[in-house]
Symmetry: C2
Amino acid sequence: MDVYAYLKENQSRFVKELCDYVRFPSVSAQPPHRDDLSRCARWLTDHCRQIGLEARLVKTAGHPIVVAQTPRKRAGHRPHFVVYGHYDVQPPEPFELWKTPPFEPRIAGRFLYGRGASDNKGQHLAHLKAVEAYLQTGTELPCDLTFIFEGEEEVGSQSLPEFLRHNQKALRCDAVVVSDSGIPSLKFPALTYALRGIAAVEVRLDGASRDLHSGIYGGSLDNPAMVLCEMLAQLRDAKGRVKVPGFYDKVLPLSAFERKQMARLPYHEPGYRKFLGVRELNGEKGYTAGEQRTARPTVEINGLTSGYQGPGSKTIIPAWASAKLTFRLVPRQEPIRIQKLVTQYLKRLCPRTVRLTVTPGHGGEPYLVSPQGPQAQAALRALKTAFRNEPVLIREGGSIPIVTDFKKILKADTLLLGLGLPEDNVHSPNERFSLDCFAKGMDMSARLWPELSQATLRRPKA
Amino acid sequence: MDVYAYLKENQSRFVKELCDYVRFPSVSAQPPHRDDLSRCARWLTDHCRQIGLEARLVKTAGHPIVVAQTPRKRAGHRPHFVVYGHYDVQPPEPFELWKTPPFEPRIAGRFLYGRGASDNKGQHLAHLKAVEAYLQTGTELPCDLTFIFEGEEEVGSQSLPEFLRHNQKALRCDAVVVSDSGIPSLKFPALTYALRGIAAVEVRLDGASRDLHSGIYGGSLDNPAMVLCEMLAQLRDAKGRVKVPGFYDKVLPLSAFERKQMARLPYHEPGYRKFLGVRELNGEKGYTAGEQRTARPTVEINGLTSGYQGPGSKTIIPAWASAKLTFRLVPRQEPIRIQKLVTQYLKRLCPRTVRLTVTPGHGGEPYLVSPQGPQAQAALRALKTAFRNEPVLIREGGSIPIVTDFKKILKADTLLLGLGLPEDNVHSPNERFSLDCFAKGMDMSARLWPELSQATLRRPKA
C-alpha cells in the first residue's frame, strides 16, 4: 500500500486519535493543569513511538518538550527537517459560551470541536500521520525528520530557546516546518512567507512634582498629558506614514510579484469593516488594507495613562502622563535601531517643560523567506497537489517569536504552512478544526518531504 | 470703651475661644464625625448668642447651617450684609505627619496650629469677634448683618443653595463678605476681586468593537488613542492659546490698572519653578505667570485613559480612548457656551474612522467685582487701615462655587477678604492660622462695616 492509500484508509482512526489528544485539558497558563500537561506529553510520546518514531520526553523548568525523530539512517547528504508544534492549549474560559464542553471533542459535519483542535493539536497531528504513513507502509522517506512539540507556546515559549541551544548540533537542519497559522479558505491554501516584527517603547513625561490644582496653577506651566498628546500626534502624518526620521530607511519594498499575489486573496471591504465594527478604514495611502496590515510598518498606541480616570472629574494638572507604543516592523527593519530612532525623535520633540523617559520594551525581528526560493516553491507544489487549488503566498501582520529563535539558534528558515481556517475560533469558545484541513494537511505533509528534499539538495550551498 | 480698644483688650480670650472651636473634629467628609459636626454647630450657635446675636440652627439633608443676625433694627435704608463661613474642616489624615494632634490646638510663636484653624474657623471667628465688639461696647452698627455658617463646604456645599433659595427674602442684601481665601503676606493684605470659572467636558472616541490584535490588524484602521492625541493636540497653539474657534470672543481683557496691580505682587520665578518642581514654565505668550494662572482662560487635560495600563505591554489597538478636560474661564466667558464651542470644534476635528462622544460636565461661572467700584474701594480702605500696608487687588485662578450661588440667588456681589497665608497648610498636615491675621482680621472687619455701609448708601441704585 502506498502512503496516500494508507492515509485515505485510516482517516476515521486518525480523527479518533485527534479526539483522544484533544481530550487532555493541557492548559499551560493554569497551574492546576500541570499534571494534565504531563499526561498529554506522555500520551504524545507514546503515540510517536507507536507510529515508528524514536521519541523522548525532555524535562524543562516549565512543561516538558516531546522530541521524536525518524529512525536514524543519516548518511551523506540526506536532508534534515524539523517539524514544530505545541501540545498546550489556550484556557477554555468562558465555559458558558461553549456549546459542548471544551475537552469533550464533538464532531459535527466536517468539523471537530474542542479546545486545541485547531491550535495546535490537529495541525501537527496531520504531520505525524503523514510520517506514520511512510513508516507503516515501509516507504522510504527522502529525509530525516525531527519533531519538537513544546508545552509552553501559549505562555511565551520560555523553555524552548534553551532547549534549542542545548541541542543545537542534533537539531541542525535544512528548514523548519510549522503548521500553526491559517489559510484564507480551503480554496486558498497558503504559504506564509513573511511576518512583521515588533519594537515596543514606553514613553513617560513628568511635569510638576505632584498633581496640581488646575484652577490655582493652570495656565502657567505645561500639562504633561497635553504635551504627550502633542508629541504622539507627531508620530504619523496625514498619509498614515510614521514620521520618525529614518524609520523607512531599510524597509524592503513590496515587489510587483508580491502585490499581485496579495491581490489574489479574497477581500470584501464592507465585510471587513463590519467585522471590525468601524465605519471607515484608515491606513497608509497607496496600499491595500491587506498590505497595510501585513506588509507595511506601523505605529500603535497600546495604552494611555494620565491623571484622574474615575467617574466625574478631578480638576488637576496631572504630575505625569505615559503611553505604551508598539511599532510593527517589516523585513530589513531592526527593532533595536527603530527603538533608538524613536527615542531620538521623541527627545527632539520634547520641550524642556517636562522630563522625558523612554523605556525600550521587547523587540522581535521581522521575518521573510523568499517566496521565489526553491524551498518555498517546493512547499507551494505540495500545497497545490494536496488542496487541488492554486496556493497563495501570504504575509502575516503579527509576529511568531519562535521563528526568530529557529533562525538565530538553528540558522534555519521556517516554512509556515498553516492549516487553520479563519472560522476556527482559536483562542475563543467553540474552537474547531476542519476535518478537510486535517486530511489535506496530511496529504500535503506526505508530499512535502520529497519536494522539499529535492529542492534542498538542488539548492546552492550557502 | 470703643470697639478697637475692646478688641485689643480681649485678644487672649479670643485665642482661647478659637482653640475651643478648633477642638471639634468637624470633618464633614467622614460619616463617623456626624455628631461632632452637630456639637460644633451647637457650640457656634451658643457662641453667637453669647456675643449678642440672634442665632438658630437650621437642619438640612446634610450637616446643619448656623444662622445668626444682629438684633433687628431694620429701618428704612439701613444696608444689610451677609457674612459667610464654614465650620466643617478637611480630613486630618495622614495623622503621622502632624507634629501635634490636629484637634488639640497648640500655640507656637504667633501661630495657632490645628485642623480648621485657618480654613475656616479662625477666619470667620474674626468677623464674629468684630461684631461682638460693637454689640458689647454698645457701639451702633451702621448696618444689619446676617452670618451664615455651613457645615458642608469641604464636601461640595450641597445644602446651601436650597437654604439660600428658601430664605431668599430674608437674605436679600447689599453684599456678601467671605473670608475663606488668602493674602500673599501680612505686608500684602488683599481683596480678591475675580475668580476663574470652569467648564468640564469628557471626550471619548470609540473605534473597533473590541480591542484588536495590533499585529494582525494594525495599519488598516485608526487607533482611537492616536486619533485622540491628534485631536487634543489641536486644542492649543504654539503661543499657548486655546484654538477652539470663538473661545476668546467674550473674554474681558485685563486693564492696564489690573496688570499694574498684579505686578505689585511679590513673585520670584526660580522660587515658583522650584515650588512646582519644573525646569521651565510655559503659558500664554504675552502674559506673566501670575496673569496666566488667574486672569487668562486655559485648557487642561485632567486625565487620559486608553487600552492597557498595567506592567509590560499588551499588543492591542484599544477599542476606545477618553480624556477628561476642563477649561478655566475668565469673566464674561459662559461655561455652557464654551462647552458648545468645544463640542463643535471636536466634532469638526474628528475623522469618520472613530465615533466621538462629548459629555459636558460641570460648569462654574467666572466671577468679577469691579475693583474700582465703591464697595471694593471701601474694603480696600478697611484693609489698609487694619494691616497698615497698601492692599493689593488679586485674582484667583480657582473657582468658588458659592460665590456664584450668592450672585444667582441673592443677587449680591461677594467681597473676598481672605485672611489666610500661603504657609497655612490648609488641606495639609500642620494647618495653622496666624494670630496676626486673626487680630488684623478683626480690626479690618470692625472697620469694614462703616466703610461698606457708606459706600453702599452712596452707590447709585441699579
